[in-house]
Amino acid sequence: MLRIRNLVKRYGNGEPVLRGLDLDVPGESVVSIIGASGAGKSTLLRCINRLVEPSEGSIELNGLELTRLKREELRKARRRIGMIFQGFNLVDRLTVMENVQCGRLGYLPYWRAALRKYPAEDIERAYHLMERVGIAHYANQRADALSGGERQRVGVVRALMQQPEILLADEPTASLDPVSSRQIMELLQSLSQELSLPVLINIHNVAEAREYTQRIVGMRFGKLIFDGGPDDLDQSAMDAVYSGTPAAERQEAAAGSWRMATS
């Protein structure tokens, strides 16, 4: 269960990117987050594992308050949060197996990883997961030798190796061709059910969001303005999420606060 309350993120003294956002994600649900570029989707995901420091508010994962954790506590908490990236972010020059084992680096004593003395159960788990997503035969290939869809599977397995309590996917299909893209969405959906894992997906492709997720959340200018099933997302809801440009709204908001300051 992920519980976000009144989340605010402000870069410097500028207008906030997230403006008091509330979101609950109960266990084993797949939630799509849609919204125009600049709406704050990526910032929202990155606030959860604190790749971006939230300015205000609370984020609770299964009872653990994430926003106030100190360095070492934060590192340990991050092991419970898997992340999948648009650009895959695999270590290109390492083998697929080494990349997958990177998901265990937070648990392993450093010397074991350094000498590649991975525990037998980790190797077993890696093969099991790689077989599940169909990349086991690439174990000894370098990550940059794989195609986009295959690389994203490596990314998924790496995240699952952490034995996470939640999966964050930041535009996981945006760099993929349509076929691989659908396969990855399908994979995320079925893995969520198999492992009873909540999954949060930032996505631009609304058709895929409708098809593969039961719940869609629409963001606009740092706030949630839509929350419902695929059928609730009608034309007026789509317009509310996507019309206009974030830059213009930001300017308006800045002008508004300027007026308030001077009046």
Partner: protein, 268 residues
């Protein structure tokens, strides 16, 4: 008719490199004035220069043909130079890698970064010959002074280039590992090091090549190796032996250049 007129009335010139005309012409005038002043104040003595040419001619005529009869001395000198170069490269690389990580702004904390940069600046600020003179004074004549000199020289170059490469890495890989709760040292080894490894290998080979060359030079000021042999030959007016040494140095450097170039091309 009107078409032709149209063409002739429009002109275009490349915008000047320096837009401000005062600055542009000021720089040109300043440079010319300085050059004239510099040449006029230096003591150019045509007589001495012409004498120097005749002296050089005498040395060269004494040096031809080169004399390889004392080849044991030559080989000993070279083996020592090679030892100096290899040991200095190994030592230099071992120290360069941690210093490079310290001196990379994106992975090091600010005070560590400043310390790393300071070490590199100190290591780079003097030419190896000057460093060699200091080390010869400190530890005496011989290869130890050469090794210490070239170690410092290697740090100055390899650590700087590697630090710059580290600052150019793809940050996404670092982010991915940090997001999984990997400790700092693990991030360095698994996200940063693989990305800079090809550059590191290239730098290592280049530096070995460069140290071999420099070891001949620092030998001249007493830091051991073939340079010392060469200096002794000059001191005893054995110009034919000196030429033999010079030819061998050129040969060895050509070979090492070719080998290192080929290896670096292949690791790409």
């Amino acid at each position: 008719m009107s078409h032709a007129e149209h063409i002739t009335t429009r002109t275009w010139r490349k915008p000047p490199f320096i837009a401000n005309p005062w600055l542009r012409w000021g720089l040109v005038v300043g440079f010319v004035v300085y050059a004239i002043w510099a040449v006029s104040t230096l003591p150019f003595d045509i007589e001495r220069i012409s004498q120097g040419f005749t002296r050089a001619a005498r040395i060269f005529s004494g040096a031809v043909p080169p004399n390889f009869s004392r080849y044991e001395l030559l080989i000993d000198g070279f083996l020592e130079s090679l030892q100096i170069a290899i040991l200095a490269t190994l030592l230099g690389l071992a120290l360069s890698v941690p210093i490079a990580f310290m001196a990379a702004r994106n992975v090091a904390a600010k005070p560590i970064y400043l310390l790393g940069r300071a070490i590199i600046i100190v290591a780079r600020s003097f030419h190896p010959v000057i460093v060699a003179i200091l080390f010869v004074k400190a530890v005496g004549f011989g290869p130890v002074a050469g090794i210490l000199t070239l170690t410092l020289y290697s740090i100055g170059f390899v650590a700087k280039m590697l630090a710059e490469r580290i600052e150019e890495i793809d940050w996404g890989q670092v982010e991915a590992l940090r997001a999984s709760g990997t400790p700092y040292i693990g991030v360095l080894q698994f996200a940063v090091l693989p990305q800079v490894m090809p550059r590191q290998i290239g730098l290592a080979i280049y530096q070995l090549d460069s140290n071999l060359r420099a070891s001949a030079v620092v030998g001249i000021v007493g830091a051991g190796g073939i340079g010392a042999t060469l200096m002794n030959a000059f001191g005893r007016y054995d110009y034919d032996f000196a030429l033999a040494i010079t030819l061998v140095i050129i040969g060895v450097i050509l070979i090492s250049e070719a080998v290192s170039g080929r290896i670096r091309r292949n690791i790409g």
